[in-house]
Amino acid sequence: MQIKLLDKTIPAGLIFSMCTCLLFITCSDDLDNVTVGQDFLESEASLCMIDTFHVSLSTVLIDSLPTSSIDSLLVGNYEDNIFGRVTCNSYFEVGLPSNTEDVLDDDSFDSLTICLRYTGYSYGDTNQLIRIYFYKLLNRIELAETGYLYNTSSVSHESTPMATYTFNPRPVTGDSIELWVDDAMGLELFTMIKTSDERMETESNFLEYFKGIAIVADTNFNGSVVGFNAETDNIVLKLYGHRIGETLEELEYDFPLVYAERQFNQILHRFDNTPLEVIQSSNVAIPASEMNNKSFTQGGVGLMTKVQFPTMNEFLLYENAFVIKAELIIKPARLSYNTFELPESIYLYHTDKYNTLGSTLTDAEGYVITPEFVYDEIFEEETSYTFDITKFIRDELSDSYFDSEHGMLITFTYEEYLCSLKRIVFETAEHAAKLKLYYVHY
């Protein structure tokens, strides 16, 4: 038996190679989405969300905040029934004018003023009058061992003010204030310049004589706290005089603020008749339940809301569950932000059972976590801050033990909590603070 062949005599090898090439070209591994077949599929994992882990809020008064070297001078007094009374006093040193050599014997003294420039910052009601007193310091301003001065520091001053100023602050529309200082002191300084007094020769000599200035707010005036620029040279004690020659010549000797690191703000609080009055000592977390179901954060004063997850350890009982995302949702108390605008950004800082302020919380890439802010202008019910705290939760769970002492302090940026009185009140009534835990369960 013999199979005769088709007449075409194509080499078989060629055909085979062509076919093989064709095969490789047509190799198609791409699978279209088939939507049929899901009914008998056994899913091995699922996404779940749980928001029943308790979020506990408490309020901590940080014992002392370093308020020196922050280039901002706060002075004034404000009181309401939520945060109580805040009084800001400020201390700084002034140095010598640079033109004392120009003085002539016939020059005469006119006046002494002090000039301060607004930073634009204010807290409280600037339509109300405030009164501030300027005192000569009795002692030099000395830095603490840490190299800082704190919101709790103080320096004793003379009992009689060298100037008193009652005014309506114009932090936004105004540029600066300039006010009269007691003539007696002005004359004394002028005479010292004229006589080339040795106290005017060097700055250290001068600072031994004129140890600095305290600006103290009168607590009888409930108005506002105003920020002034405290960078070197921005606060000036101005000594005016005149010289009669061929024409009348105005003379001006500037005693500028020196050593910004020794300028600091003393921030005093009085919590009487507010929910905060239960605070007896600093660095103790007072649960919101003892504060009318609220927690408080305020810069300057050192009030911070502490967030803890006391029942998070229960998550470790969930077998085969991995946290994919953890969202902390906290809501400001209703009606608490009518007078004071809510800050758009608040920050979370690590803390421990001693309530020390640690570093800011970051996400997995190391970026500082900022919240998503929702503002419900009409009903105020949905106003909330949502933080993605996945990394924090996951880190805490990673060693199979969730230390509920490890929590977070809510406050503002470093700069804001040191040199502003920004404030926020959080609600802890039911469902106000929530931890939404998204996890995959397999």
Binding site: M1, Q2, I3, K4, L5, L6, D7, K8, T9, I10, P11, A12, G13, I15, F16, C19, T20, L22, L23, F24, T26, C27, S28, D29, L31, D32, N33, V34, T35, V36, G37, Q38, D39, F40, L41, E42, S43, E44, A45, S46, L47, C48, M49, I50, D51, N320, F322, I324, K325, A364, T390, K436, Y438, V440, H441, Y442
Partner: protein
């Protein structure tokens, strides 16, 4: 000869790496090692999958290792097959279709001595290929998220078969097979905004050696040749190196999981063939795969049973001798196949039936042939929300005869 070996060698490598057994795209392949491929070369396919009782002669028949005793002495046969498959998936509610094409197998055979013939090749044993999208709801949040199940891979069988002619009418064969495969199954869940995502990946690398046996007994009655063939292979566990991981956010964790239950079931088959010279042959095969009972592959909806396959096929050529028209040199083949798969899903057995038509086109003196076959079939059912797959399968395979040892002699 060295060059040819090199070509063959590289083809084998290409086959394994470029187109690794991705021959299925079927939602039914989500279970275990996926869909068990119909064994056999393209010509076996054209004959409805029959071959237990056929001899390898003009083309290789790898359904029975005893068949190689039919290879003409001193000739070398090389075969490669590819397929293109168009599948339509249907449920009561929806319909999808898919086309895929790939290399299917590569095999070669030759006779060493009067009593010893051999064949070696690669052929897919099973394959996994699916991508199924669905939605789910975040428990506790009532938000919808997407879930996608994907599977790929399969198990290839590398075999080296030996056929020994014991007596004039009786030959026996053994297949030394190495099963090697990797199966990757993933489950992906992702929310619409993409913030929450997890990927559950199960990767199995399986391998094992196995033997299967076959025998053929031939009886000559007048012009007809009757052959009885049997095949058998023993149950064998597939060794699996597996990894089960979950990936969420930027984390990847290895999870504990039970080892996948992959195995080769015990297999037995019997075939009958009747042949008249080269002009006509017909065959009937029955094969049974014994799956252990109550193996549910960790899926409560899934049960297994013994898989069965009934095949029938015939081949005819009108060629009578020199001088016939060219078309008469063609071979015509047809067949039918009914398969009861090992799957019972939600109490519904998954069966398939198909019909084949094919032709063999001789090309050159060395009996080189191009074989084409078209298979039309249906798998599954629409009951209980299951899937019905209607498919058209085109097989193309090339059989090369070569004179490797001396010039080919025709008997």
């Amino acid at each position: 000869m060295f060059k040819k070996l090199l070509i063959i060698g590289s083809l084998i490598v290409c086959f394994n790496y470029l187109c690794f057994a991705q021959s299925t795209s079927s939602p039914y392949s989500v279970f275990a090692e996926g869909q068990i491929e119909i064994f056999g070369t393209g010509t076996n396919h054209a004959l409805g999958g029959t071959g237990i009782a056929f001899k390898s002669k003009l083309y290789l028949n790898n359904l029975n290792p005893a068949s190689y005793s039919g290879i003409d002495s001193l000739s070398f046969i090389l075969e490669a097959g590819l397929f293109g498959r168009y599948t339509q998936y249907k449920t009561n509610d929806e319909q999808n279709s898919h086309f895929n094409a790939n290399l299917k197998y590569l095999t070669m055979g030759c006779r060493f001595t009067r009593w010893w013939a051999t064949s070696a090749g690669i052929i897919p044993y099973s394959s996994v290929g699916y991508k199924i999208s669905t939605t789910d709801i975040i428990e506790g949040d009532l938000t919808t998220y997407y879930k996608t199940f994907e599977g790929s891979g399969g198990i290839n069988q590398f075999y080296w078969a030996h056929s020994i002619t014991l007596f004039k009418n009786l030959s026996a064969g053994v297949n030394l097979s190495y099963y090697l495969g990797s199966i990757l199954k993933t489950e992906t869940g992702t929310t619409t905004d993409g913030y929450l995502t997890y990927v559950l990946t199960r990767s199995d690398k399986v391998h094992t050696f196995n033997l299967d046996y076959g025998a053929q007994y031939t009886l000559f009655v007048k012009d007809f040749r009757y052959t009885l063939g049997v095949i058998f292979s023993e149950f064998k566990n597939l060794n699996s190196d597996f990894s089960y991981t979950i990936n969420y956010n930027e984390y990847t964790l290895s999870l504990d999981a039970e080892e996948s239950d992959y195995y080769l079931p015990r297999r037995a088959g019997i075939g009958l063939a009747i042949e008249k010279g080269m002009r006509f042959k017909a065959g009937f095969d029955y094969e049974r795969r014994f799956w252990p009972e109550n193996n549910s592959f960790n899926n409560p909806l899934l049960e297994t049973r013994d898989g069965e396959q009934f095949s029938i096929g015939m081949e005819y050529t009108p060629y009578r001798g020199r001088g016939d028209q060219n078309w008469k040199k063609l071979f015509f083949r047809m067949g039918a196949c009914y398969t009861k798969s090992y799957l019972i899903i939600d109490k519904i057995p998954i069966n398939s039936a198909s019909f084949m038509l094919g032709t063999g086109i001789p090309i050159r003196k060395e009996l080189t042939m191009i074989n084409l076959s078209l298979e039309a079939g249906r798998t599954g059912t629409l009951q209980k929300g299951l899937i019905e797959e209607n498919f058209l399968l085109l097989h193309v395979n090339v059989t090369l005869h070569d004179k490797w040892f001396i010039k080919y002699n025709i008997d």
